[in-house]
């Protein structure tokens, strides 16, 4: 049976890792490379690394750094931030990224998703969507690290991204981000129902129960989390144990090297 993944998200800004609340009030949480090493040593299911400055400052993703990070990563690594061309995708894949996450550039140039999926395969294209809940109800997509209102409604945009060939959706609730108050279950449920591709829930994890809820009640295929792992004693391994107790299938780590 396919396992539900627990994915630490690393937000990378300038030289280090940061974590904010509601895409704001960034706190430094340390250097990137040691964090990648620790998560790799703990044999996490997957890692997501997002450069939150690249789009805002119109920079290319930093391939040299990605190369260093991927050297330390024996599990799947998704890299995002500032990706707006096929050349950048190719360069990141050559630097050791296994999947790339596209967000802001897709609004201006949705054809980038089609082009990346047909050239590199749908399986390496993660469409990332940052969403705010509207006061009048419904959800709106925001680009550029949550700073620009795209005017797009989330379900229509998620379907369009899937139709264009995205292989997964990384769905982040901006209000819940860093709040540790739980995932936006209604948001995840609507998107997971609207598309056939896997949806990774992001934004709001503050307890293992939140992760269980978003899988069981909202249909997430994977849970991404940052603050909970940076700022509390809770760990990806602990999350998987709790999910397993709730009858959610999780990956068992292979330890069979005792008798090589």
């Amino acid at each position: 049976m396919l396992k539900v993944r627990v994915i630490p998200t690393l937000l990378w800004k300038g030289l280090g890792l940061v974590k904010g609340v509601g895409f704001d009030s960034w706190r430094r949480v340390g250097p990137v490379l040691p964090a990648v090493k620790v998560y790799n040593a703990r044999d996490v299911d997957e890692l997501i690394l997002l450069d939150i400055n690249a789009t805002l400052e119109n920079e290319w993703p930093d391939h040299d750094s990605v190369n260093d990070f991927s050297e330390e990563c024996a599990v799947p690594l998704t890299v995002g931030g500032g990706i707006s061309s096929l050349e950048q995708v190719l360069a990141l894949l050559h630097s050791g990224a296994d999947k790339i996450a596209v967000n802001s550039a897709a609004y201006a140039d949705p054809g980038l998703i089609d082009a990346a999926a047909s050239r590199f395969g749908a399986q390496c294209v993660v469409a990332s969507i940052d969403v705010r809940r509207l006061d009048e109800g419904g959800y709106r997509c925001f680009s550029h690290a949550g700073t620009q209102d795209t005017g797009r409604e989330v379900l229509a945009w998620a379907r369009e991204l899937a139709d264009r060939g995205a292989g997964e959706i990384l769905l982040t609730s901006i209000e819940r981000d860093g709040s540790m108050s739980g995932y936006d279950l209604a948001l995840v449920e609507r998107v997971a129902r609207a598309v056939e591709i896997p949806v990774i829930a992001s934004g709001g994890a503050g307890s293992y129960q939140h992760m269980i809820d978003v899988v069981q009640q909202a249909g997430a295929s994977a849970v991404a989390a940052a603050s909970i792992f940076h700022f509390t004693e809770l760990t990806p391994a602990g999350a998987k144990a709790a999910m397993q107790s709730a009858c959610i299938p999780v990956r068992r780590n292979f330890v069979g090297e005792a008798n090589p």
């Binding site: 049976m1 396992k3 539900v4 050297e71 024996a74 395969g121 399986q123 390496c124 780590n253």
Partner: protein, 207 residues
């Protein structure tokens, strides 16, 4: 042990190279088919679409060299993901396209194989093998490996299927015909279990 990793412009070469380096082998990124003659093992990696992958292999002169060295001369090869699918005779992604034909079979989209769950099949899933193949030595059946694919290999002959993966239908996880191996999952991204499988491929000696 010299290993060539075929660089036809579409693979996640970095992760594959690193995995073999960790195991103490000497992987080289082969940028031209002539580089395949001097090595003990060939790895055909790949992420991407079948038709485009085959176009790259054909245009780069790789297809003929692989058929010669692997098909005729018996050099061991491991295909990974798209690299495994292209071992087949025929693929259905991006139009019906001829593959390398090193293991007879077809590559079909998961829904055409009766799958009704989410596509692509992404994440860690159990690789099940009834009879222990050399590729899975030391790896228990149902160990988790990392998959990410929308198409699957359907071998024409049952004996070429050496492992399967349970989604809502059973899909091919690994194939083998003599010295030609292929796995749908990514051993280079499957942590310790993946490292063990790659080590088994290095240890395999054709007789």
């Amino acid at each position: 042990m010299k290993i060539a990793i075929v660089n036809y412009g579409m693979g996640n070469l970095g992760s594959v190279r690193r995995a073999f380096e960790e195991l103490g082998a000497e992987p080289l990124i082969a940028n031209h088919p002539s580089a395949l003659y001097d090595v003990n093992r060939i790895v055909l990696p790949g992420v991407g679409a079948f038709a485009e992958g085959m176009a790259h292999l054909d245009q780069g002169g790789w297809s003929d060299t692989l058929r010669e060295l692997v098909g005729e001369q018996g050099k061991p090869l491991l295909g990974i993901c798209l690299g495994m699918q292209m071992l087949a005779g025929e693929g259905h992604e991006g139009g019906v396209t001829s593959g390398l034909g090193l293991i007879s079979g077809q590559v079909r989209r998961l829904d055409a194989l009766g799958c009704s769950l989410r596509i692509p099949h992404v994440g860690w899933n159990e690789v099940c093998h009834a009879e222990q193949d050399v590729l899975f030595e030391g790896i228990p059946s149902a160990a988790d490996f990392y998959f990410v694919h929308s198409y699957a290999f359907v071998p024409e002959q049952r004996e070429h299927l050496i492992a399967s993966v349970p989604y809502d239908v059973d899909l091919t996880a690994a194939v083998r015909r003599d010295h030609v191996f292929g796995c749908q999952f990514h051993p280079e991204k499957s942590s310790k279990a993946g490292r063990r499988l790659l080590r088994n491929f290095l240890s395999y000696s054709p007789c």
